[in-house]
Symmetry: C2
Subunit: 131 residues, 2 copies
DNA sequence: CTTGACCTTGACACTGACGTCAAGGATTAC
DNA sequence: GTAATCCTTGACGTCAGTGTCAAGGTCAAG
């Protein structure tokens, strides 16, 4: 019932380095065997899965913390807690900000390009709209 | 006709550190006085202005290089050279990529939020379209 | 007994554009 | 003369999440 870090890493699809890093930042934990080796159980696997899912979705490790704590406190999903939902909302606002910034920046660059290279008309497709 | 780094920095609106950094990376240059002090003339001021403009627009220092060289070779604007235009195009493609990524990510986060918090409908305004 | 696979902690490398401090020389103002 | 300000180079810190190496302990198979 206890796996060591190598197996955990394989099963979770992450590096052992990543697991130690998550632990160092208090997101996961592990018992220690008499030899000092980390021993993990299945529950930690779910936590790591949650972390990976969030990281690949653009969240930071800090963002992942409330989700992990939500899972640890017995909830079925990491986003069953208000703190997690708050992170969703904050992230959504951040994304909207970033998108607005990039869209504005794109317009500027396109304008510069048009000015520097008349005839270099640029077309782009964003959500079914031609620009 | 020659100003030192402090005055140059004030006039260009950048730090002396930034000027040394640009020089270190070969983007600007300066004569040296007998005491070892850098001495700048007006032409360098234009280069720094170009660099700042590009950096604040989201370009990297490397991106700025062709623009600076374009100016140095006597052109009225930094984007009068094909290399600069190529950078514009590449940047445009990068921005489109990033925007697409962020928009997709936003949709995922919004979906998660909707699932985790029914009734938390989120509205956003992107270019006159309500979502 | 030895090889080899696994584990441990610690610590440097990376990316970019600087900020900031250190230690020292030059210049200017009074 | 001396304090204040300016200049020089060099080098570490920042942010994030690892990759990677170092130096060593542990353990099962042969």
């Amino acid at each position: 019932m206890g796996m060591r870090i190598g197996e955990m890493a394989r099963r979770a699809g992450v590096s052992t380095r990543a697991l130690r890093y998550y632990e160092q930042h208090g997101l996961i934990s592990a018992r220690r065997g008499p030899n000092g080796y980390r021993e993990y159980d299945e529950s930690q696997l779910a936590l790591v899965a949650e972390i990976r899912s969030l990281l690949t979705a653009g969240f930071t490790l800090e963002d992942a913390r409330p989700f992990v704590e939500c899972l640890r406190s017995g909830n079925a999903t990491g986003d069953s807690c208000p703190e997690s939902v708050a992170v969703y909302r904050r992230k959504l606002a951040e994304l909207d900000d970033q998108i607005r910034t990039l869209v504005a920046r794109r317009a500027e660059v396109a304008a510069q390009l048009a000015g520097a290279c008349p005839g270099c008309t640029v077309h782009v497709e964003i959500r079914g709209r031609r620009t």
